[in-house]
């Protein structure tokens, strides 16, 4: 099937007016938005931690990505609100008949934030960098389709062709994560093999250029990073005024969520993302006076789950856990635990109703991929008991559950001590499972130490963790479900699938990866969800809502489930205030 993506947005006529930089003769700007915006103003956001780098090829932590995302642009961009790929630096693209080759036509007359022109050589350079093994870019995995790197060829100065080894269902989304790098600035570093140390936080602002709406102005260690308006940005509004509207974007560094909330409450920051429901309630209490815009965007793509350790412990000296794995690998045991958990209680007490109870891995927030046929059985202690009985468990006179060999059913749930919600969930589950005679202990551990136990030493019995949030597409979950995947936490490091159902999931996930038809992919992924819900390698708990807030006079504030509040930073502006403003 051949799809030609037409430009949905009209192109800017030649020589359009712009606010600051004189437009090039043939500058092909992208026209977006209403045109009601107002230039000027400074938007402040508090980040939980300081970014580690400004180098798009090396950034893996979310603060770095948040900042870099505002300074760079990509060829095809997934619209965060509609989740549909849209033209960005590539004004249009087409796919070859065999589904392997993509021809992308670039906008002409564009400039980097330092005024240097942009063309196909920059795209070629970017792919060369990201595919280079020495750079070890996190995007390299994405560009390896079917185990082979994508081949990029320059057709002319503003056209490139990307050829993949096999058709890929998510090829268009792949371009979204590729920030185009300026060849004129980074080529020397790349040739000398020092790219990994280029573009740190200490790099002077003039030496960093991008195609994003903002460019670096100032970095103060431990305090803030300030971005300023990129005068060469390639978007304009309907009134032919060049975006972005804001003059400055400031990221403050605060320690944790509570500090973010306090800053937002006091007016020191203008937007806040990933607010916990409790703090959202604190902000809602202030809302009548402070006129915040608070938004509950509904269930996020994240899913919290309880996982039992089913790893192969041969060669590890963990006899107590190995003994308990008899229970953990028993489907009746896992199903009984799942049936005994009060998910509604979790939603109400831990998330104050701002979450969705889960029975499968796809959150109700992801309506495009959710398998609605998955059963959602309510809590039932009786059925949990019947399942345990069927597996040879019995109860002592004092109510304690013992297995067929007479051993008391006791296990620990390890949680991250920095995540109050997961510890709360564990405490509720502890009380739920007490009703079926299980003796559960909750052990909060420092997050790194916990992760080490889960992925390295396997020295844990059960833990509550969360995945998701990267993208709505099933491919973002592939490392979780493939039996050899790095996030296949219940049993890591499988050379061949250890169960028939894991083998079936492997087949389904690999098939959907090369299937281009949505209906067929959905059918395959529905089956994956069904198997997972039946076999319960993870016991799914809840999917928290996305909660965000902004100052009352911030306009065009359209937070999305992905990237939350700043994905459309180029369109944000402050409405004129009727009363005397703060700034």
């Amino acid at each position: 099937m051949r799809i030609l993506v037409a430009l949905t947005l009209c192109l800017m006529p030649l020589g359009a007016a712009s606010q600051s930089a004189a437009p090039a003769v043939s500058e092909e700007l992208l026209i977006e938005g209403q045109g009601a915006g107002r230039h000027g103003g400074r938007l402040v956001m508090a980040l939980r931690a300081e970014p580690r780098t400004l180098n798009p090829a090396l950034a893996t932590d979310s603060p770095s990505r948040e900042v870099i995302g505002r300074m760079t642009a990509d060829l095809i961009h997934v619209n965060r609100a509609s989740q549909v790929p849209e033209p960005a630096l590539a004004k249009s693209w087409s796919r070859s008949a065999d589904g392997r080759a993509y021809t992308l036509r670039l906008r002409r007359g564009l400039r980097f934030s330092d005024g240097h022109p942009f063309d196909a050589d920059d795209v070629m350079f970017t792919f060369a960098v990201l595919l280079d093994e020495r750079v070890a870019a996190s995007q390299r995995d994405l560009l390896m389709v079917g185990g082979k790197p994508a081949i990029v060829a320059k057709v002319d100065s503003h056209t490139v062709r990307v050829t993949l080894a096999q058709p890929s269902a998510a090829a268009e989304r792949m371009f979204d994560s590729i920030a185009i790098l300026p060849k004129h600035q980074l080529e020397t570093a790349f040739r000398q093999g020092t790219l990994a140390t280029a573009w740190t936080l200490a790099t002077p602002p003039a030496a960093i250029a991008g195609l994003g709406p903002f460019r670096l102005k100032e970095y103060v260690a431990g305090q803030r990073i300030v971005l300023e308006r990129n005068p060469y940005y390639w978007k304009a509004d309907a009134a032919a005024r060049r975006l972005p509207y804001l003059d400055e974007l400031v990221f403050l560094f605060t320690g944790n969520e509570d500090a973010q909330v306090i800053r937002f409450q006091s007016g020191e920051s203008d937007v806040i993302a990933r607010v916990s429901p409790e703090n959202f309630a604190v902000l809602a209490r202030d809302q009548p006076v402070k006129k915040f815009q608070l938004r509950d965007l509904g269930p996020s793509l994240d899913y919290n789950f309880l996982v039992f350790n089913q790893n192969d412990l041969a060669g590890k000296n963990l006899p107590a856990i190995a003994r308990k794995q008899r229970w953990f690998s028993d489907l009746n045991f896992r199903t009984a635990v799942s049936r005994a958990i009060d998910r509604e209680g979790i939603v109400r007490l831990v998330y104050r109703g701002r979450a969705a109870a889960l029975w499968g891995n796809v959150s109700p927030g992801n309506s495009r991929w959710l398998n609605t046929a998955i059963p959602r059985p309510p809590r039932s202690v009786e059925e949990a008991r019947a399942l345990l009985k069927a597996s040879g468990f019995s109860w002592r006179p004092d109510g304690a559950l013992v297995d067929g060999g007479g051993e008391r059913v006791q296990f620990t749930i390890a949680t991250s001590s920095s995540n109050a919600q997961r510890t709360e969930m564990a405490t509720l589950i502890q009380a739920d499972l007490k009703e079926i005679g299980m003796d559960v202990r909750v052990v909060p551990l420092e997050f790194r130490a916990l992760l080490d136990r889960v992925v390295q030493t396997f020295d844990y019995e059960a833990t509550i963790q969360a995945f998701g949030g990267g993208d709505a597409d099933p491919n973002s979950e592939i490392h979780v479900w493939l039996s050899r995947g790095g996030n296949h936490w219940w049993r890591l490091g499988q050379k061949t699938p250890q169960t028939t159902w894991e083998a079936e999931i492997d087949r389904l996930m690999e098939r959907q990866l090369v299937t281009l038809d949505y209906a067929e992919r959905k059918r395959l992924y529905d089956r994956v969800q069904q198997i997972v819900a039946e076999q319960l390698p993870f016991i799914f708990l809840a999917s928290p809502h996305v909660l965000v807030g902004a100052r009352g006079d911030l306009a065009n504030f359209q937070p999305a489930a992905l990237d939350h509040p700043l994905w459309n930073a180029d369109h944000l502006f402050f409405r004129p205030q009727l009363t005397t403003g703060r700034r």
Binding site: N279, G345, A420, E424
Partner: protein, 341 residues
């Protein structure tokens, strides 16, 4: 003076009695979750109902959650629940082996009376405060006894022997005081197995606190023993050929009694606070067993700190206990000086 002293002793005794018989005074089991009423404010005890009628027996109205907000509750005026004495509820053991289910007060179900509100799981804060105090205070008292026994033995040995023994023991004490305990404790907790039940953790806490705390009183006692040893009457007794054991028992140890009592009264609140710190940092007993420290741990969250004042109850209890013990210390100190003269 006497009335103030009486008040002090009365208060301390009352607190200890309340905590010791926590099971009886607490209306509910401290781990029981009433999931329909998380963060409910303290129940209002009424004498006059909505129609203005006076009732001799105080009563509460059942809380019904306000549909508009998660943590707000409305009193349901149609359901009046009088407070009752000696109600039967959750089972508890008075002393190990004797199990009963009689509680001092309560209300008939399904209503609940929470005189100090509930926490995020709908657990009764008053019940948790009493049961938690039992753990915190007993840990403090036991640890005090441990450290004082160690301090008395080591201090007396060092002071009475003198010379190399004294040097070794006192330098060891210096070493113990110089160790950064908090970091060491984090390391110890990480090395311990994940699965530790509340009793083991409790014993560990007691031992840890006792081990950390012996050095300071030991140095004090050593000083007293050292000076007592050189008193003329001790020298005279020794000249008459009194054995060392007699000298210690008759002349030296009685001198240390004042210091020991003062130290005890000082160490108890100190250790209660230390238990609070350790539990607050997640090194103490785990959920659902309450202690004052892990109850205060909830206040680490900003929304709890700003929204629910009744969650500060353990802090208030802690202040009262600490203050009481400090008054006791100065009283003992004064009293002992008088005796010594």
């Amino acid at each position: 003076m006497t009335s103030r002293r009486g008040l002090l002793f009365g208060t301390l005794a009352a607190i200890h009695a309340l905590i010791l018989f926590a099971g009886f005074f607490a209306p509910y089991d401290p781990a029981e979750q009433a999931r329909v009423i998380p963060y409910a404010p303290p129940s209002r005890v009424h004498f006059v109902d909505v129609e203005g009628r006076f009732h001799w027996r105080p009563f509460v109205y059942a809380w019904t959650p306000d549909p508009a907000a998660y943590d707000r509750y409305l009193e349901d005026p149609t359901s009046r629940f009088p407070l009752q004495l000696f109600v039967r509820g959750a089972e508890y053991s008075v002393v190990p082996g004797i199990v009963t289910n009689v509680h001092l007060f309560g209300v008939a179900g399904p209503a609940r009376v929470a005189l100090l509100g509930t926490d995020g799981y709908g657990r009764d804060v008053l019940s948790r405060l009493l049961h938690g105090g039992r753990l915190s205070l007993i840990a403090g008292l036991l640890a005090t006894v441990c450290s004082l026994i160690a301090a008395a033995l080591i201090g007396t040995l060092a002071g009475f022997s003198g010379g190399t023994v004294d040097q070794i023991l006192m330098r060891t004490a210096d070493l113990f005081m110089a160790i950064p305990w908090l970091y060491l404790l984090f390391a110890v907790r990480a090395a311990l197995p994940l699965q530790m039940d509340a009793r083991d953790t409790f014993l560990l806490l007691v031992v840890v606190l006792g081990v950390i705390g012996w050095a300071r009183p030991a140095r004090l006692i050593r000083g007293i023993v050292l000076s007592a040893r050189e008193r003329t009457y001790v020298l005279a007794a020794r000249g008459f050929g009194a054995p060392r054991r007699y000298l210690l028992r008759r002349h030296v140890l009685p001198q240390t009694a004042g210091a020991m009592l003062t130290q005890a009264a000082l160490l108890v609140p100190h250790y209660v606070l230390a238990e609070v710190t350790l539990s607050f940092l997640g090194l103490g007993v785990g959920e659902p067993v309450p202690s004052w420290g892990n109850m205060l741990g909830a206040l680490q969250q900003y929304h709890v700190l700003t929204s629910y004042w009744w969650m500060f109850a353990p802090a208030v209890a802690l202040i009262v206990v600490t203050f009481g013990y400090h008054l006791l210390t100065s009283y003992v100190h004064e009293r002992m000086r008088v005796v010594a003269i």
